[in-house]
């Protein structure tokens, strides 16, 4: 009874999260040509009755590209409204805070996957990815196809146990379970070379990541991330519930084949060194 009540509250909250943000195109006014996407009706379900997370998901509230475009409602650009669902700053261990503080602007830049063309990895793929993600969801597996760097990840939902000694992977090793209509993915065993955020927030070998996936309506995917990394953080950090909206446009190729930034920033780094 209690569990059912909690699930009901969670579903209502997720629905409210979407409906609070959405206003009809008339209400949003004629000054924007790209507006917040409507909820779109109930979420589809898999043959086993669970919510189907499949779709072409864009990291905004518009259901289409918003970067580099005019006439976009600011609410449609966002994945969450910090006034409604504020996101706390991570609380770093003193040594970790010092390490990040000592990074120069060029070092910070070179550490970003958007600059060095390393895979984002988990959880960054859900926290610092401006491009789309296609999810193909079946009762036994969720395939995540990331547009950025033509990268992909398979998450098994058939209840298989995690291996005892997983190799360090950028997306870690995952187990899953359902809590009502929320798919919970617990992951561990990460390659230490990826960053959580493009702020210099690095992680350790003991990082554990929890992803919580809900689809309160057809057009909205909500992903909430918790990072538990006691070597680097003094306490676990949880993201705001971030909205991804259903698109129907093309998925583009993105191989990183002409990266001039490493050379350009490398020259700047040399100039920084001479200045010291």
């Amino acid at each position: 009874m209690t569990r059912r009540f909690h699930l009901g509250v969670a579903c209502a909250a997720a629905t409210a999260l979407v409906s609070i943000q959405y206003a009809s195109p008339q209400a949003q006014g004629a000054r924007y040509s790209i507006t917040v996407m409507p909820p779109g009706g109930p979420a589809p379900r898999l043959p086993d009755g669970h919510i189907d997370l499949s779709g072409h998901w864009l990291p905004n509230s518009a259901g289409q590209g918003v970067s580099g475009r005019d006439g976009v409602d600011p609410a449609a650009r966002r994945q969450f409204d910090p006034k409604v669902t504020p996101e706390a700053e991570p609380s770093f261990q003193p040594w970790a805070a010092e390490k990040i503080k000592n990074m120069t602007p060029v070092e910070l830049e070179l550490a970003k996957s958007s600059v060095n063309c390393m895979p984002r990895g988990l959880p960054a793929i859900w926290l610092q990815n401006p491009y789309s993600t296609v999810i193909v969801h079946t009762p036994v597996m969720m395939a995540q196809l990331y547009e950025v760097l033509n990268n992909w990840r398979l998450v098994y939902t058939d209840g298989r146990p995690a291996p005892k000694d997983p190799e360090p992977w950028v997306h870690g090793t995952s187990t899953t379970h359902w809590e009502g209509d929320t798919l919970v993915v617990n992951s561990f065993g990460f390659d230490e070379r990826t960053y959580v955020m493009p702020t210099g927030w690095f992680h350790s070998d003991v990082m554990k990541v929890t992803e919580r996936y809900t689809r309160p309506s057809k057009n909205y995917l909500i992903v909430q991330i918790t990072v538990d990394d006691p070597k680097v953080l003094t306490r676990p950090w949880t993201s705001a519930p971030r909205r991804w909206t259903l698109g129907n446009g093309e998925v583009y190729e993105f191989y990183c084949t002409n990266n001039k930034e490493l050379d350009e920033l490398g020259k700047l780094k040399e100039q920084e060194s001479y200045g010291k």
Partner: protein
């Protein structure tokens, strides 16, 4: 009256900040390019590199001495350009034609290398966003 103006300007400034705030600060403009060296460029489009993580287009620009230099301009990733309606064909159709660019020079002093903020082909006069000239 002054209070009303101040209030209005404050709201307008907040609106600009909110509108301009990028969804992701995944890339720092300021780390690589110099915001104090931004200017308008006019010249002839000579080439395009339709590549990731950034596209590049090249423009012959005549300096004040009459010397022509071939400038390269970095753009958004191609996905962003495509979703905003800018295609490779558009660039190809404008090779050898006049363009206008707003861009900022590289911080490391590399000559004739800049980030593009916006671009206008003389052929259609439409202002297209090519990148962000701020963080």
């Amino acid at each position: 009256m002054k209070i009303v103006w101040t209030f209005t300007l404050g709201i307008a400034a907040a609106a600009v900040v909110l509108t301009a705030a990028p969804s992701f600060a995944h890339h720092s403009f300021a780390a690589e390019f110099d915001a104090s060296k931004c200017r308008d460029f006019s010249g002839t489009l000579t080439k395009v590199e339709w590549t990731n993580p950034h596209g590049f287009f090249f423009v012959d620009v005549k300096d004040t001495n009459g010397t022509v230099n071939n400038w390269s301009f970095q753009t958004y990733a191609l996905i962003t350009l495509r979703r905003a309606g800018t295609s490779l064909q558009l660039f190809k159709d404008n090779i050898g034609k006049e363009v206008w660019v707003r861009g900022c020079e590289a911080k490391n002093g590399r000559p004739h290398y800049a980030a593009a903020g916006s671009l206008k082909f003389a052929s259609d006069g439409v202002l297209r966003q090519m990148g962000q000239l701020q963080d």
